[in-house]
């Protein structure tokens, strides 16, 4: 390898894995700690609010089950998008990318509806500990979904202009890693906040 030319050395990696992928995995590890800390805060303050409204009065489990399902489906779309890009089928790649982003937007719309409903019912950040910890935890997740949607739409936009091709499958894969992670986080939040209320 010491005899290799500079050009090939440029792409040499010790593990054979692309650096960007390792970056994303490590970043996800760090994000786990972030959501873990927020979740612990939520759990520590569960049942500690001194005034209402309380979670059991507000949480609409059937509604959130539907939006959770939508987010799960978006992960499926993501898998299809990556598979399409990997086999060079950019037409379907674009379709699935757009579908993933759209389902993400549906999920976010559900969250916006839920937040405004809660505010209408008298729960704001300032109302009680439930309000603060709930909005912060789910809001942080929503912000992650928003970033993911923007990312996916950018990829879609690049694809429509022909700037995303089969050669960029790795780029789509990394966006997919992020998207699946955000999805998995929601499964945990859904379980802890809504199912274990």
């Amino acid at each position: 390898m010491s005899q290799s030319t500079a050009a090939t050395a440029e792409h040499y990696t010790s593990t054979g894995l692309p650096s960007r992928k390792i970056l994303m995995w490590t970043f996800i590890g760090s994000e786990c700690m972030l959501f873990g800390s927020l979740l612990i805060t939520y759990l520590v303050y569960k049942g500690k609010s001194v005034v209402g409204p309380y979670p059991e009065e507000l949480l609409n489990i059937p509604f959130i089950t539907v939006t959770t399902f939508v987010l799960l489906m978006s992960s499926l779309m993501m898998v299809l998008a990556l598979a399409a890009v990997q086999r060079g089928d950019m037409k379907w790649g674009k379709v699935w990318l757009l579908m993933t982003a759209l389902l993400g937007i549906v999920f976010l719309s559900g969250q916006i509806y839920e937040f405004s409903h809660f505010v209408h019912e008298g729960l704001t950040l300032k109302t009680n500990l439930f309000g603060g910890s709930f909005f912060l935890l789910t809001g942080t997740h929503g912000a992650h979904v928003t970033v993911g949607v923007i990312w996916l739409l950018s990829l879609f936009g690049m694809a429509t202009r022909g700037r995303l091709t089969q050669a960029d499958a790795e780029t789509v894969e990394i966006a997919g890693l992020y998207w699946h992670f955000v999805d998995v986080v929601w499964i945990v939040l859904f379980t802890v906040i809504y199912l274990l209320v």
Binding site: M1, S2, Q3, S4, T5, A6, A7, A9, E10, Y12, T13, S14, T15, L17, S19, I22, L23, T26, F27, G29, S30, E31, M33, L34, G36, S37, L38, T41, V44, Y45, K48, S49, V50, V51, L125, K126, N128, L129, G131, G132, S133, L136, S154
Partner: protein, 612 residues
């Protein structure tokens, strides 16, 4: 940046340096650089600047405490100074000084041409630098943060700390966290993925190993404080109730979140120092590191255990006997891998042929002082006994034996060891030795009496003490020592400037060291290695095991392509700090401006061609 300029022009004049003008180019070339070496130098210079700032803050504190009922500074300024002293030394001096070595040395040690993400690296630096300026700007706008570097809730709430001092601290630390996490992610990927052929994990130099471990600690620990800071920011800015006891909020939540970050943070400060010493001791003993795998694994173990001991900072809050027992025992366990490291360093020296050059003196000084800090740490680990010592000057003595006698001594060892590689010029040995001895004596004069001040009942973070408690003489000793300590730093500064201007050329390998950074010229060419080396042992330049392929710089070969400079990192950093300023002033236009600049930076970054 003036020093950098001098450094650049002088390097250009260096006659024996085969790479003239390694650092030439104007200010703009430094601002847009993505070269890990230049970024490392910028980290080092700014870290050393903040080290001096933090030192001046400490001197003012010591002068105030020289005698009872001191009136040199008032309570308000004192509280700002001790808060900023801690914050500055931890976040703006020691961490970035370690980062300087991560940047400059690690890619060279693993035989890489740069880090995995050069622009992300530049972003880390600029976010750190602008964030540091942001935090210190508080002195100009109504006063610096004044609730301690640990910022315990609920003293930091709007009710007890109105104004924007604490906002400066909260937002400043959030910004610095972005920088630290980005840098750590970069180094993890770099070390995992850019090692040259043959450099298996168990052939990596110890400094690289400890950089890797430290980086993992950073990415795992910083989220906890990020969440704590966000909770606090929401309390202060949006009226949430997280730390409001009247509404059911728990002030201890902050302590848990802070120390889940805060204790690993101690190892974030310490492990790079342990790594550097593990490099320096073998080189100056003319002997490979004794028990390499044990030194590596003990570092990993310290990091793991470091996550399970946070509540030993909270023994006095009354967690109950079960928690106190568990956290006492877990804390004591850390002494074992720490001891293993110390024994292996001594065993490395044993049977060697010791050369007491300045880096070695500082490394030995580190070992000697760190033993004391470790032993007082064991005293603290005993939850019951610690009920007397916590929050007293005994702790102040302990942390300074670990962080000054330990980390700062080790970082000075690293500076004396690696500056010749960085600048291409040797430091003066005589001045270095004077620096060492003055610093060693002054350090002990400053901090040893503080053990007894604590045992005799002097609490920490007090802006004054009254006569009649027996604190006078030892405080005076400590103050005299601290002034001497400040003077010893000036000796180093003089030595450094002297070396830049007329230091002996260092040559490729002035210490006859073993690792790859010494196989290329000093300062290294901008592409580091024209052809990638291939190693078959831990000490390739000593080639004791096999013949490693460490090619020199063959001018016949083409220069490798390197990433182009980019101004998007600094633009993005400006956007982040603009957003921070917007949050601080709660001025929406500033927030939008910051976000707009950020978006511009991200967009440009994403679509910028990578190679020139």
């Amino acid at each position: 940046m003036a020093v950098t300029g001098a450094l650049a022009s002088d390097a250009a004049r260096a006659e024996k340096s085969p790479h003239r003008g390694a650092y030439s180019g104007g200010l703009w070339s430094w601002i847009t650089t993505v070269d890990h070496k230049r970024i490392g130098i910028m980290y080092a210079l700014s870290a050393f600047f903040f080290f001096l700032v933090g030192g001046l803050e400490a001197l003012l504190i010591r002068i105030q405490l020289a005698g009872p009922n001191g009136t040199v500074i008032d309570a308000d300024l004192y509280n700002q100074l001790f808060t900023m002293h801690g914050t500055t030394m931890v976040f703006l001096a020691i961490m970035p000084l370690s980062a300087a070595f991560f940047n400059f040395i690690v890619p060279l040690q693993i035989g890489a041409r740069d880090v995995a993400f050069p622009r992300l690296n530049a972003l880390s630096f600029w976010v750190f630098f602008l964030g540091a300026l942001f935090l210190n700007a508080s002195f100009l706008f109504g006063g610096a943060p004044d609730a301690g570097w640990f910022g315990y809730a609920n003293l930091t709430s709007s009710q007890y700390s109105p104004g924007i001092r604490i906002d400066f601290w909260v937002i400043g630390l959030l910004v610095l966290g972005v920088s630290s996490i980005a840098a750590a992610l970069n180094f993890i990927v770099t070390i995992i993925n850019l090692r040259c052929p043959g450099m298996t994990p168990m052939r990596m130099p110890l400094f690289t190993w400890m950089t890797l471990v430290t980086s993992f600690l950073l990415v795992m620990a910083f989220p906890a404080i990020t969440v704590g800071l966000v909770l606090l920011m929401f309390d202060r800015m949006f009226g949430t109730l997280f730390f409001n006891p009247a509404a059911g909020g728990d002030v201890l939540l902050w302590q848990h979140l802070f120390w889940i970050f805060g204790h690993p943070e101690v190892y974030i400060l310490l492990l790079p120092a342990l790594g550097a010493v593990s490099e320096i001791v073998p080189v100056f003993s003319r002997k490979p590191l004794f028990g390499y795998p044990f030194v590596v694994y003990s570092g990993v173990l310290i990091a793991f255990l470091g996550f399970g001991v946070w509540a030993h900072h909270m023994f006095s809050v009354g967690l109950g006997p079960i928690a106190n027992t568990v956290f006492s025992a877990a804390t004591m366990l850390i002494a074992i891998p720490t001891g293993v490291k110390i024994f292996n360093w001594i065993a490395t020296m044993w049977g060697g042929s010791l050369r007491f050059r300045t880096p070695m003196l500082f490394a030995i000084g580190f070992i000697a002082m760190f033993i004391i800090g470790g032993l007082s740490g064991i005293m603290h680990s005993s939850a019951a006994s610690d009920l007397q010592q916590t929050d007293t000057y005994f702790v102040v003595a302990h942390i300074h034996y670990v962080l000054f006698g330990g980390v700062i001594f080790a970082l000075f060892a690293a500076l004396y060891y690696w500056i010749p590689k960085i600048t291409g010029r040797l430091l003066h040995e005589g001045l270095g030795k004077i620096h060492f001895w003055v610093m060693l004596i002054a350090f002990n004069l400053t901090f040893f009496p503080q053990h007894f001040l604590g045992l005799h009942g002097m609490p920490r973070r007090t802006f004054t003490y009254q006569e009649g408690l027996g604190f006078e003489a030892m405080n005076l000793m400590s103050t005299v020592g601290s002034l001497l300590l400040g003077a010893s730093t000036l000796i180093f500064l003089w030595n450094f400037i002297r070396s830049i201007r007329k230091g002996e050329p260092a040559g490729t390998d002035p210490w006859e060291a073993a690792t790859l950074e010494w196989s290329i010229s000093s300062p290294p060419p901008h592409y580091n290695f024209r052809s990638l080396p291939e190693v078959h042992s831990r000490d390739p330049l000593w080639a004791v095991d096999t013949s490693d392929s460490v090619p020199g710089d063959d001018p016949a070969r083409p220069e490798p392509h390197m990433p182009s400079p980019s101004y998007y990192p600094v633009v993005l950093a400006l956007g982040i700090v603009g957003l921070a300023a917007g949050g601080l002033t709660q001025a929406l236009p500033v927030v939008f401006l910051g976000v707009a600049v950020m978006l511009f930076g991200i967009y440009g970054w994403a679509f910028e061609p990578l190679e020139r």
